[in-house]
C-alpha cells in the first residue's frame, strides 16, 4: 500500500496516575480525511498534543512521509507539515487578520528587518480566498464574528501547503462546534477541495458530521484506539457504542420524559429589542417547559439569551418575570429574580477554575451558607457532596479544583450551581458544546429532571438535533427577529429541514 503521510507507531504517554495514551498506532494517507472520535478523556487531545509537539511520547514514534521525527514544539510541527486548528481559538483580537495568519512566520515578509505590510496583506488575501472569506486582511480580528475567526484559523492552517515541500496534514479539533449550519457546509466544501493537496484529521463530537466527511474513522477509548472502520459502512449508533463501550440503554434525547408544561407563565418578553442585536421579540415561557431557540450565528439568539440573563440590557420592550415587569441592570438582578445563565464560554464565564467543586457550586448562593458572617463549610460540603452524587459528577472530592475536571463534569458543576441557587428559569447557551457523548446524555437527563421539578429552560442548542429533541416549543430567529414558532411535542417534532428554511 502507499506511503502514509503521517504515521504514529505504538505511542504511549503516561502522567502521574493516568495512562493518557496506551500503545496507540494510527496513520493517514495522502488526500485522506480521517475522523477521530472518543469521549473526553479518551486520549484524543493527548494524541493531538503529541502530534503538535506539546507532549513528548514516552514510547513509540511519529513518522512523517516515512521518516521518523521528534516534534519539539507546535511551531516545529507546523514547519514539518502538521498544522493544527485549535479548539480554543488561537486568533488574537488585537492583531489584524494578516498578522494572525502569519503570526510567528513574518520572516518571509521582512525587508531590511522590517515587515512589509503590503506584501503580508496580499499574501493573506490569497489565503482568505481559499476559505471564501472576503474580510480585509488589515482588519482587526476583534471586529470579526466568532465564525469568521474560526475560518481565519483554518486559513492559517491552509497557508501551510503553499509554503512547504512535504505533504500537509491538518488537524481540525472540533472545528464545527462554534459554526452554524451554513459555515459547516462551507467548511466541508473546503475540506473537499483540500483533499487534493492535504490530508485531514477531523475531530468532532458530532458523529453524523464525522461520518459525512471522513473516509476512515478511528475510535478512541481509555487512551487506546479501540476501533478503526470505514466511514461508508458505519452508523452513528455503532460509533457511539464503540465510544462509550456499552449499548445505548435508552433513546438519546429522553423524549419519553418530556414534561407537559403547566399554564403558569414564569417569564415573558413583550416587543423586547436591543439595537443592532434583536427586535420585537415576544414570547412566553412556562413552568416546566423547554423553549428551544434555533438560529445561525448573527441571528441574535445569543444576544437575546445574554439580555434575558441581565448581561446586556434591552433598549425597548418589556420583560416580565412571574407577571411583574423587571429591569435587569446586571447579572445579579436576574439571579435575584431567579433567572440564571449557563454560558457557552464555560472556562471563562461558567467556572472559577481554581475554585474547588464545592466553592463553584455555592458561588451563586453564598448567602445561604453564611451564619454570623462566616461561611459554614460543613453545610457547604454537605450540599456539594449531595449534588456531586445526584449529578454523577466524576471528581475525587468536593475539594478538587473544578478546573481539573473534564468538560462534561465541569458543565454539571455549573448546572449544580444554578440548582443550588434555586433559579426558576435557566438559560442554556450551548450547554453541550465540546463535551463528550456520555456527558451529553447526562446533561439531557438533567434538563428533564429540572423541568420535571417545574423549572423553565431556554435552550440554545449546540446542534439543531439537540434543540428539536429537547424542546417543547421552538422559536426560530433570523437577523434578530423571530421568523417561526414550532410546537415540538414527543412524536410530533419538526424536522431540521423545516427549521433551516426559516433560519437562512
Amino acid at each position: 500500500m502507499m506511503q502514509p503521510v503521517l504515521e504514529v507507531r505504538n505511542v504511549s504517554k503516561s502522567f502521574p496516575g493516568v495512562k493518557a495514551l496506551d500503545n496507540v498506532s494510527f496513520h493517514i494517507n495522502k488526500g485522506e480525511v480521517v475522523g477521530l472520535i472518543g469521549e473526553n478523556g479518551a486520549g484524543k487531545s493527548s494524541l493531538l498534543k503529541v502530534l503538535n509537539g506539546i507532549y513528548q511520547p514516552d514510547e513509540g514514534k511519529v513518522l512523517v512521509d516515512g521518516r521518523e521525527i521528534i516534534i519539539t514544539s507546535p511551531r516545529h510541527a507546523f514547519d514539518s507539515g502538521i498544522a493544527m486548528v485549535f479548539q480554543e481559538q488561537s486568533i488574537l483580537p488585537t492583531l489584524t487578520v494578516a498578522e494572525n495568519i502569519f503570526l510567528g512566520r513574518e520572516e518571509e515578509f521582512l525587508r531590511f528587518g522590517l515587515i512589509s505590510k503590503s506584501r503580508m496583506n496580499a499574501a493573506a488575501a490569497e489565503e482568505l480566498k481559499k476559505v471564501h472569506l472576503s474580510t480585509h486582511p488589515a482588519m482587526r480580528c476583534a471586529d470579526l464574528s466568532f465564525a469568521d475567526r474560526q475560518m481565519i484559523e483554518i486559513a492559517k492552517a491552509l497557508s501551510l501547503d503553499s509554503r512547504i515541500k512535504t505533504d500537509v496534514t491538518i488537524l481540525l479539533d472540533e472545528p464545527t462546534s462554534v459554526l452554524e449550519q451554513k459555515e459547516i457546509e462551507l467548511l466541508f466544501r473546503i475540506i473537499g477541495d483540500l483533499k487534493q493537496r492535504a490530508s485531514i484529521v477531523f475531530i468532532s463530537h458530532r458523529l453524523e458530521e464525522v461520518l459525512e466527511i471522513s473516509d476512515r474513522v478511528y475510535v478512541m477509548r481509555d487512551g487506546q484506539i479501540v476501533q478503526e472502520l470505514a466511514a461508508k459502512d458505519a452508523t452513528v449508533k455503532e460509533l457511539h457504542q464503540h465510544m462509550v463501550g456499552r449499548q445505548l440503554h435508552h433513546e438519546y434525547y429522553r423524549e419519553a420524559r418530556q414534561a407537559t408544561p403547566s399554564a403558569k407563565t414564569v417569564l415573558e418578553c413583550v416587543d423586547l429589542n436591543r439595537d443592532g442585536a434583536f427586535s420585537n421579540i415576544s414570547f412566553e415561557l412556562h413552568e416546566g417547559e423547554v423553549l428551544g431557540i434555533a438560529g445561525v450565528i448573527g441571528s441574535g439568539r445569543e444576544d437575546l439569551a445574554r439580555c434575558l440573563a441581565g448581561h446586556t440590557f434591552p433598549d425597548g420592550g418589556n420583560l416580565l418575570v412571574n407577571g411583574t415587569a423587571v429591569h435587569f441592570g446586571a447579572a445579579y438582578d436576574a439571579t435575584a429574580k431567579g433567572v440564571g445563565l449557563v454560558p457557552s464560554e464555560r472556562k471563562v464565564e461558567g467556572l472559577v477554575a481554581p475554585f474547588s467543586v464545592a466553592e463553584n457550586m455555592t458561588l451563586a448562593a453564598l448567602p445561604k451558607f453564611v451564619s454570623g458572617g462566616i461561611i459554614s463549610f460543613s453545610a457547604e460540603k454537605a450540599v456539594a457532596a449531595d449534588w456531586v452524587s445526584r449529578l454523577k459528577i466524576k471528581t475525587p472530592s468536593t475539594a478538587t479544583s473544578a478546573g481539573s475536571l473534564s468538560g462534561g463534569n465541569q458543565q454539571k458543576v455549573v448546572l449544580a450551581k444554578w440548582r443550588i441557587a434555586g433559579v426558576r428559569v435557566l438559560i442554556l447557551d450551548h450547554p453541550t458544546r465540546g463535551i463528550d457523548v456520555g456527558s451529553k446524555e447526562d446533561v439531557y437527563e438533567l434538563v428533564r429532571d429540572m423541568t420535571a421539578e417545574g423549572l423553565a429552560v431556554i435552550l440554545l442548542g449546540d446542534t439543531l438535533d439537540e434543540v428539536i429533541g429537547l424542546s417543547n416549543r421552538i422559536l426560530v430567529m433570523r437577523d434578530g427577529e423571530i421568523t417561526a414558532r414550532f410546537e415540538a411535542p414527543p412524536g410530533g417534532k419538526p424536522t431540521q429541514v423545516e427549521l433551516v428554511r426559516h433560519m437562512v
Binding site: 471563562v348 472559577v352 477554575a353 453564598l366 461561611i375
Partner: protein
Amino acid sequence: MTQEQRTRLQTWLPLIVLAVLILIVGIYDPRFFSASNFLSVTADTMTLFLMASGVTLVIMMGGIDLSVQAVASMASCILAAYLQQLGFLAIPLAVLGGALAGFIGGLASTKFRIPSFIATLAVSGVVISAGNWFSQTRSVNIPGDLSATYLDWAIGEALGVPNEIWVGAAFLVIMSAVLGLTPFGRLVRGIGAQERAVIASGINVDRTKIAAFTLSGTMAGVAGVVMAARLGSGSPTLANEFLLPAIACIVVGGTAITGGVGSIWRTFVGALIVQVVRIGMTFMGVSVFAQQIVFGFILVAAVAVTMDRAKVLVIK
C-alpha cells in the same frame, strides 16, 4: 517529590526563607538573637504589616492600591489634629478618613472603570492635599500626656510584649478570618481568579471591589494611627517611602501580583522578611552605599523562592 509534598513545601517557603535570613544574621552577630531584639524588630515591622495587610486583599483581586502611603499620612494628621478635642473619638475618625479615601479609590476604579493602578494613584494626590489641610501643612505634635492616655494601646506594653505586636497580631487574625471565612473573602479570591465567572454567577462584583478598597484604606488608616502614636506626631509626609516596601512585603510573602492566590499570613511573614533584611544589613555592618543594592537583589531572590508558581499560569 509528589505534587502534594511540593505544594505543602510551597506553603512553608516564606517561613523557611525568614528562618534562614534570621539564622544568617544571628550567626554573624549573636546579639541579634536576643529576645529584646526580636521583640523590637517585630514591633518595628507592624506598621508596615498593617498597611500591607489591606493592600493584600486588593492585590488578590488582581488590582493594586497605591494610595495607602498618602492615606496613612493623612490619618496621622487627622489623629494629631483632633486628639486634643475629641480624645478617643479622634482614633475612629482617623481610621474613618482612611476608609473614605479607600472607598473613593474603589468607586473611581469600578464606576469609571479606571485601572486601580491609576485610580488609586490619582486619589493619593487628593489625599495628600487633604492631609495638608488637616495639618495646615505642618507636622502636628501629639503631647506626651495625650499619647499616654489615648494611644498606650498602640505603643505601650503588655505581658512583656510591645503593644504594636498585639495590635499587629490582632489584625493578622481578623484579616485572615475576613479573607478565609467570610463570603467577602471568597469573592475577593474569585474575582482575582476569574472575574467574569463571578459576575456571571450573579455577584455584585463592584460592591465587593469597593469593599476591598475601603478595607485597604481602613487598614492604611490604622497603620497611620499607630505610626503617629509611635512617632508622637502626625505629618502629611509621615508615611513617605512606605508604599513600595509595603507592596514588596506582599509579593515577598508569595502572594501573586496577578491576583487569585495569596494570604494575610504570607504578607505578615513577608513584612518580617523585609524588616530582617534591612536590620540585618545594619547588624552586619553592610556599607550604607551597598545597602540599596543588596536590598534590591535580596528582594528579587526572596520572591524567586517564595512565589507559588503552581497556581500562576503566566508570569507577567
